[in-house]
Symmetry: C3
């Protein structure tokens, strides 16, 4: 895919939205193009108000009668920070915002908001398998950057199951398919937190157990059935570990806050500590983490192969996200934190994820410099590591490639 030569970084001015008084090299480092190392495609079609409201809350249940999802941190942030990108004044009313959104059309809305995010590389989890969402290549095109694929392990297992192989052949077909898909991807991803919880048995199941579990699964199988069997989830994970080692790819894990399907206390990344030890040194990335950011930071601080981000949490905590970012920076080594927007369906969530990352990180850096703790030079270097450097190293994304496109 190609870019259109649009200015990178944080438009319109590189320091808009940042803490006033930041040293210019720090502000420039923050304003530079980000690698969004974990996001989803945005929708290609338009949305009515109930449809839009369903997408500004995790899980999409409607607000109670007499209330609106716009009365939430992310709702106020959309009115404040996305309205101007669509040509409205800050704090525009929800109805005005949605009317303007409809007038511009989803193509233009996607283009404006994704570009405003100042992202150079989009690493897109394609596991939702929804043709209504932009593909990685389309995300890159709309956002003025490149798109890359993140392959969701459980989805690949489900796709193989849909083909109807024999129980005896499932494991081989799954491994082959995952290997094939991983060849074109920058990372693998597991949602075992949703399908079981992170309190899974850390060891791979025996081959006989796997065949038995596949047989049970297929015996009662119906189309588009989700993979939830704990044996097969573990089998999927350890197959992914093998594939990831082969290609040198990291494995991303959903952890923490998510939609209503999730039992949040079972999505605490500490629950997978034994697994983390068992797969070392294959790199792992703990996604989102909230409200277990400090727990995740502690894992990243002691295990060299563990990386974290606080995407999703930053977008949804919005005006309060500087606290979340500050907590991630308490203990995590600076070469282990990554930026992600975790946007899904709405380009607003990408724009806000990038904005609050820059604002929150900028606020922390400004305080460190003002307190005489960190030099501006170190602060600028840390901003670049978190914004793109760590992701480029981990996912082996070159800068050059990007510029050539």
């Amino acid at each position: 895919m190609e870019t259109d030569g649009a200015p990178r970084g944080l438009p319109p001015g590189p320091t808009a939205g940042l803490t006033p008084g930041l040293p210019s090299d720090v502000a420039e480092a923050l304003a530079g193009p980000l690698v969004d190392h974990h996001c989803h495609g945005v929708r290609r079609d338009g949305l009515d108000r109930p449809g839009f409201e369903r997408l500004i809350v995790e899980g999409g249940l409607p607000a109670p009668p007499g209330t609106t999802h716009f009365d939430s941190p992310v709702g106020l942030a959309i009115r404040r920070w996305c309205a101007p990108v669509l040509g409205l004044p800050p704090h525009a009313a929800p109805a005005d915002y949605l009317a303007r959104r409809a007038d511009l059309g989803s193509h233009e809305v996607n283009r404006r908001l994704l570009r405003e995010a100042g992202i150079g590389d989009f690493c897109v989890d394609t596991g939702l398998n929804d043709p209504g969402l932009l593909s990685p290549a389309e995300m890159g095109l709309a956002g003025g950057g490149r798109g890359h694929e993140v392959v969701r392990v459980e989805r690949v297992a489900e796709e193989v199951a849909e083909r109807g192989p024999s129980a005896a052949k499932f494991a081989d077909e799954f491994a082959e398919e995952l290997f094939r898909r991983a060849g074109a991807a920058v990372a693998l991803k597991s949602i075992i937190a949703y399908r079981h919880g992170l309190d899974f048995d850390p060891w791979p199941p025996e081959p006989g157990e796997v065949v038995a579990a596949v047989s049970r699964w297929f015996a009662g199988y119906h189309a588009h059935e989700r993979l939830t069997d704990p044996v097969l989830l573990r089998h999927g994970l350890w197959t992914a570990v093998g594939v990831a080692r082969e290609y040198g790819l990291p494995i991303q894990f959903h952890t923490g806050f998510g939609d209503p399907d999730l039992a949040l206390h079972r999505a605490n990344p500490l629950l997978m500590t034994d697994f983390v030890r068992a797969v070392r040194p294959a790199p792992i990335v703990l996604l989102h983490c909230h409200p277990y950011v400090r727990e995740a930071a502690a894992l990243a601080a002691v295990y060299p192969h563990v990386n974290i981000d606080v995407g999703l949490a930053v977008t949804y905590t919005a005006a309060g996200s500087a606290t979340v970012i500050a907590e991630a920076l308490e203990l995590t080594p600076f070469h282990k934190i990554l930026f992600s927007s975790d946007c899904y369906a709405l380009p607003e969530l990408c724009r806000l994820g990038a904005l609050f990352h820059r604002r929150g990180l900028g606020a922390v850096l400004a305080r460190r410099i003002a307190d005489g703790e960190w030099s501006p030079r170190d602060a600028a270097r840390i901003a670049r590591l978190i914004g793109e450097g760590n992701a480029r190293r981990l996912y082996r994304l070159t800068r050059t490639e990007k510029r050539e496109q």
Copy 2:
């Protein structure tokens, strides 16, 4: 009960104690009368120093030799913020404070401190069943507002047990009594967190199980015995769900921090996630929540029927409570957060709960406005929702009724 026409809101001036420089409409919204949607009665009699100290700590164990419970956040806050209400300088010594308290007498102390809280409606949990505490009506009278009853489910079950029904008739008598009591109440409340933990089996027990459990309970019964049988606690809860649905009442749950009876890690509201899903859409209110405020906020963010407050935590963290309030506001929709003082026995705890709610929320709102995140108009609206609007909607408390009294 009637009010005396005393000024409502935060005396003596409506903005005393608030962040300087708050826009006037935000300050006014904060200073308006609060709905204290969960509190207990204050004592009608006076207290000596050991008796007072026992009541400024959760659970009432004495301080170690050579120390005093006044050396705590809430102890310093009483000297700072309650002393002037009794006519003493701020930071008065504990002995001076208690001497002044004794001189004024408990009636006057209760009247002054409750009115200083600026509360329009007191929703009083009557489950402690202690005639030494003011009733809901008396709380309203002393505080210049209205009193309402919150019925504690486990207490009603214990009262029915004290009548000595047959095991076979217990369930019916309990349901009838709870239904009768709920008819005059604004909410039901469960303390299953204390009696078992929030890791209870989320489903209702079978009728046969209930009769068997009642038989076991009654076989070894002694007077004033607490209900702790897990089957009967669950039965009580599901009976309450039925009654609450009938009347459209919310059910409040103690969660988080409490007295030494509580195993705090079993009071994490996430442990009742399956129950939360099972009772949807019957409204639930998670009380206190600390230190699981972010966990509770995540539940409120994804489940439309879940509401939270951070009462008790605000009072006891006192000068540090703005952080607790800020964390509640990170993720919780603004139509799902309520104010409570959770005061018990001492009117000081009501005065401080209201004061720190206003100060802490004011500090967050001031920061949001200064950061250019929220408009003053939205900030004022949010202050009113949290201070009274959400509680009025949830508990169907009209403003008009209040003014008519």
Copy 3:
């Protein structure tokens, strides 16, 4: 051991590094000599870069290829705050720092950094049993203060096992040895969090169980084997409770964050709530606690015999440690919080622990005073309680003794 008459407290000026504008009595209280109630010896020999880097991360695993442990909060803090003590400019490069360190030699580096910490009493956990680390007396000498011993319970059990007693005699020999060692110590310490987790059975094992467990242990025994049997760990703990009661000594517990051996979610101090209740009123100190600081604070708030510190967490969160300290101060009574550096091997960690304690606590006190919450007099008193007074009371360390030396 003796001191050299060097100025105590925070050199070079007593208020260096503190929040500007603190009232002078508060600054003086903060600058006074600290009791480091839990630390380890620093190394007597020098270190190359890989050796040094291994020691600025919990657990000592090397940083991933292409990265350095200097890119962490503690790494930046060493360059900022330790470099000047060695005569280098702030923010010196790692290579320059290590070269200067080598030039000065470990004796001089230890002396300078430990003295800069301004510590009057070092309570040293000797359970690591490494002759390369300074003894308690040597720590006192190098740091210009006194050294005291903290006896690690599990280590004493292992030492007794190494002597090869019969299984039947183990319990008696262990009790005698622990009693003997405790006679010269200021506290006992347990690392059951590492060896099992804090979710241990809270009750003492039966004598028969102990003999059986010892027999199993000795049957497969090899030299320097760690004690990990849950029965024997509980036996060790309850033996320690008896000894501690005899001497009136507190028992320290590792809780929270630690090295990669630890399963962090099993180091949540709430998991030992039943044990905490069972040993009351024998004083307990919960060490470190991060990220369970609020949980630990809740225990300290309701149980009179529970004390906490946030050492280790303060050192490792470094520039972000004021938040950790602020959270500890939210709910913990002021007579229940202690200072520790938890330094191990590197005097840098002692210097930073003391510095960030003073800076973080100073920042909280400055805010409380500026907010009109606490009087400067109370703030100064609280600073002294946390810095030394609480430890002197708990461990019965006299001031006089110190000055006489």
